[in-house]
């Protein structure tokens, strides 16, 4: 049994008061070209205006990643012969026939290529419907991307096609080890972005096969993909609120796999302002199952009392405080915030001196942003690292599983748990160390691993069982 040291209760408000005074009216501070922010409120930053309709079309039909597999080679894959799966309306031309996470692009050489787009991570299905902006909690980044890429060389014709293939294959080859996770469902896009930075000159964006600054560690910290529909409310991007200033440049930064010059980046930036405008206009889906309105109303009162200080209010006149909560208060797994605050100066400096940082100020704080809770019932698993499978477990830390996996067969989606609010899961006796195979190991969420902890956010622990049930019902209405 671990001892818990508690401050005398009278001191807690004093400490909090002191902290909040320190945080008052202080923007990020700069040292050697690196900005750091205090916890607390994140101010609003003006965003460049764009056309949401044009943005939707561009998101579905234009390519932000400009390298990929030649289309002719793609046609020879077995996947190309299969049904393309669910589709978003508005995919046009070649894209209408491609799976929604792939986009056709004609490279400068004239070779048509198939590229990855944002939606492999930022779209997913719920209750059989494809939902724009819902983070994909089932994406398998444990697969070695190089196997498929290198094998696809056999499908490529000599000449310009082969040149296109090689550019793509070499690029992914350089970053593959930074994007591979050891747990199915968690995302590594932030680590991948840092790896790309390490290989580029910040001023020219020219690619270097050897890293120019020390790359990030090869084991990415797990991140759960946040829903896009919160973009309109959030002043800063990313869990530690470091994405301050212009949001577009952060958005396109994650897709710089093959953006090798400032001119190319500026071209993408010019149409991505429309995409940002679309994302900021995006609304969450409605809860598709029954809601007990009377119970939800009682839950609303619990929410007012327990949650609104950090997460804001909902309904007719919503408010959202945009606050970074200190690690010491939220107590969730600190690795991501700590690494972003203390171990990332070279990347913050890179960003600041690049095209991507021209309109922005990357300034991490030592804490996590309390996110807006719109559509929160759809976004399991919870916390920044996806360590807590359901909202019920999030609101009662005693019920959180230490080792768990989604309850599903193979690639099938687990059933949605309308009581606990999340995907059904199985609690396991052992973590990854006890797994017999790769397959088994990769599907276990092991909260004992660094960065994978499920502690903290214990604010629901003191609720009564009926208060918690009511609160869960209320969350369905958001």
């Amino acid at each position: 049994m671990a001892f818990e040291i508690r401050y005398p209760s009278i001191q807690v408000p004093l400490i909090l008061l002191t902290l909040s005074l320190l945080g008052c009216d202080r923007g990020p501070t700069e040292k050697d070209g690196v900005y750091k922010a205090e916890v607390g409120e994140i101010p609003a930053y003006p965003q460049r205006p764009g056309d949401p309709d044009r943005g939707y079309d561009a998101l579905l039909n234009r390519s932000v990643v400009t390298c990929g597999l030649p289309y002719n080679a793609y046609l020879k894959t077995r996947e190309a012969a299969q049904d393309a799966g669910p589709q978003f309306p508005g995919r046009t031309g070649r894209n209408a026939g491609l799976p929604y996470m792939l986009t056709s692009h004609v490279a400068a050489s004239g070779v048509e290529i198939v590229t990855s787009n944002c939606l492999a991570c930022h779209a997913s299905t719920f209750n059989g419907e494809l939902v724009m902006g819902l983070g994909n909690a089932f994406l398998d980044l444990t697969i070695d991307p190089l196997i498929g890429i290198e094998a696809s060389a056999a499908l490529v014709e000599d000449g310009p096609e082969a040149t296109q293939w090689r550019r793509w294959a070499d690029r992914i080859g350089a970053i593959a080890d930074y994007m591979m996770t050891d747990t199915v469902g968690v995302n590594s896009a932030n680590n991948l972005t840092l790896a790309l930075m390490a290989h580029r000159d910040p001023e020219t964006l020219a690619w270097s096969d050897t890293p120019l600054i020390e790359p990030p560690p090869q084991a990415p910290l797990p991140v759960s993909v946040p829903p896009w529909w919160n973009m309109g409310k959030k002043h800063a991007m990313f869990y530690n609120g470091e994405g301050r200033g212009d949001h577009v440049r952060y958005m396109i930064l994650a897709s710089t796999t093959c953006t090798d010059s400032v001119e190319e980046a500026a071209e993408i930036d010019a149409w991505f302002v429309d995409v940002r405008a679309y994302l900021a206009s995006l609304q969450p889906p409605d809860y598709p199952f029954a809601i007990d309105r009377a119970l939800a109303e009682r839950g609303g009162a619990v929410f007012e009392k327990t949650c609104k200080e950090c997460h804001g209010t909902y309904g007719e006149e919503p408010t959202y405080p945009n606050r970074v909560i200190a690690l010491g208060k939220v107590e969730t797994d600190p690795e991501l915030a700590r690494k972003g605050f203390s171990d990332a100066d070279r990347f913050l400096k890179w960003f600041g001196s690049s095209f991507y940082g021209e309109l922005s100020q990357a300034a991490p704080a030592l804490g996590y942003v309390a996110p807006p809770l719109d559509g929160v019932w759809a976004t399991a698993p919870y916390l920044h690292n996806g360590s807590v499978p359901t909202l019920a477990a999030l609101l009662d830390s005693r019920s959180r599983p230490t080792f768990w996996r989604f309850d599903r067969e193979g690639d099938a989606r687990p059933a949605y748990d309308e009581v606990g609010l999340g995907w059904t899961y199985r609690t396991l006796d052992n973590g990854k160390a006890g797994a017999m195979s790769w397959e088994e190991r990769n599907h276990i969420y092991d909260t004992g691993l660094p960065g994978y902890g499920n502690r903290g956010h214990t604010f629901g622990d003191d609720l009564t069982e009926s208060e918690r049930l009511a609160l869960l019902e209320y969350l369905k209405t958001l």
Binding site: G85, V114, T125, E150, D158, G173, A412, R413
Partner: protein
């Protein structure tokens, strides 16, 4: 809404690519070549083996299916191609050591035999190749057979569970379905073999090795291996028979057997180690040597359980290359392999450099010895490495 299987489609580009393309490399490794010093009886037959006949009318392997024994030990004529490859190390009473390799390939020419008057009408070509290396003598001895399946000269029988090509045959005698007994006979003027084989371990489906993803089982080829069969019988060299015994490995695969070249190279390692363990590795790489080679390994334990290892757990590098004077092809022939989490380190040394099996598809298929350490203790073994040639970068790729 059908959700099952949806994620098979919903993958980003880099994991979406089917592994079907791997087949080309994999099958070429198992395709024994005939172009040894012996002249082939019918060069036109040889040409047929390399021609692209298409898959019309043949059963195609579209997904993994469980193996069915003993039936799967027999032939699968409904599939276009099939191959049986055996290799192993034999010793005689005076300690003489012999490493042999014997491959038989069946390639169907048409899905259904068209009615023909001639008894020589045949719808399949069979090819066999035997090589032998003596520990006490330099060089590689070899023999080959190439014949149409006509007039009983060659054939493969699903019922009798045997395959034969002239005076060579492999047949299932009896035994438990998962511990089969077989008889291997390779007669003739060159090195000749007559061996009784008893499986010491159950067959392992290639798909269950977890090499380069499970999908490989669905890549156009079914395959299993019997990685350890006790062998006893007679080896005849220069007309002189001698009793031998040892350990033999059998690969049996069927499906499409493309023979075309691609810019994807594939190396395969199959090693019988001491302590009743076998190691299988694949290494996928660009033919021109650029990019990141992708190794994958599986260790079959004494009880038949399989441990799989992936790229980032494996160090595998060629430490010696050999230039074929016949084809001009350059092959990696000696290797260093380590799997740190297993505490395994192995040097793989070829028993002879000149073990080019096929100068047309440019394949080196050679007997090797293994020496190293496992878990802090010395370990040794022997086996076979198949590698495709390294090709200098072509323009544009």
């Amino acid at each position: 809404m059908k959700l099952r299987g949806l994620d098979a489609i919903m993958k980003p580009l880099f994991v979406l690519l089917g592994l079907s393309v791997l087949l080309a490399g994999l099958a070429s490794l198992w395709t024994p070549g005939p172009r040894g010093p012996e002249s082939t009886p019918e060069p036109s037959l040889n040409a047929l083996l390399y021609s692209d006949l298409g898959a019309d009318g043949f059963v195609e392997v579209v997904e993994d299916r469980p193996s069915r024994f003993p039936a799967d030990h027999g032939a699968h004529p409904e599939y276009r191609g099939e191959l049986w490859t055996l290799f192993g190390q034999l010793t005689d009473a005076s300690g003489g050591r012999y490493d042999f390799q014997l491959g038989i390939t069946r390639l169907a020419l048409a899905a259904e035999s068209p009615p023909r008057a001639s008894a020589w009408a045949a719808n399949a070509v069979y090819r066999g190749r035997l090589t032998l290396i003596r520990a006490d003598a330099p060089g590689v001895q070899s023999a080959a057979r190439l014949t149409r399946a006509a007039a009983g000269l060659a054939g493969a029988d699903a019922q009798l569970r045997s395959v034969w090509i002239e005076d060579w045959s492999l047949s299932l005698s009896d035994g438990e379905p998962d511990r089969p007994r077989m008889r291997l006979v390779a007669g003739g003027e060159g090195p000749a073999l007559s061996l009784d084989l008893v499986a010491g371990k159950s067959p392992v489906a290639f798909a269950d090795l977890g090499l380069l993803g499970r999908d490989i089982g669905a890549s156009g080829l079914h395959a299993y291996l019997l990685p350890r069969m006790a062998a006893a019988g007679t080896l005849t060299l220069d007309g002189e028979p001698r009793s031998v015994e040892g350990q033999v490995w059998l690969d049996h695969a069927w499906g499409m057997l493309p023979t075309g070249r691609s810019r994807v190279g594939l190396n395969r390692f199959a090693i019988q180690l001491d302590r009743d363990r076998e190691l299988v590795c694949l290494q996928l790489r660009r033919e021109d040597g650029t990019g990141t080679p992708i190794p994958a390994c599986a260790l079959i334990l004494a009880d038949g359980q399989v441990q799989s290892f992936r790229r980032r757990e494996i160090r595998l590098e060629a430490v010696e290359h050999w230039l074929s004077p016949r084809s001009g092809a350059r092959y990696p022939v000696a290797w260093r392999l380590s799997i740190p989490i297993l505490e395994l380190e192995l040097e793989l040394i070829p028993l002879a450099r000149n073990q080019e099996a096929d100068d047309r598809v440019r394949l080196w298929s050679g007997a090797v010895q293994a020496e190293g350490r496992l878990g802090g203790e010395a370990i040794a073994g022997h086996g076979r490495i198949d590698t495709t040639a390294e090709v200098p970068a072509r323009s544009g790729i």
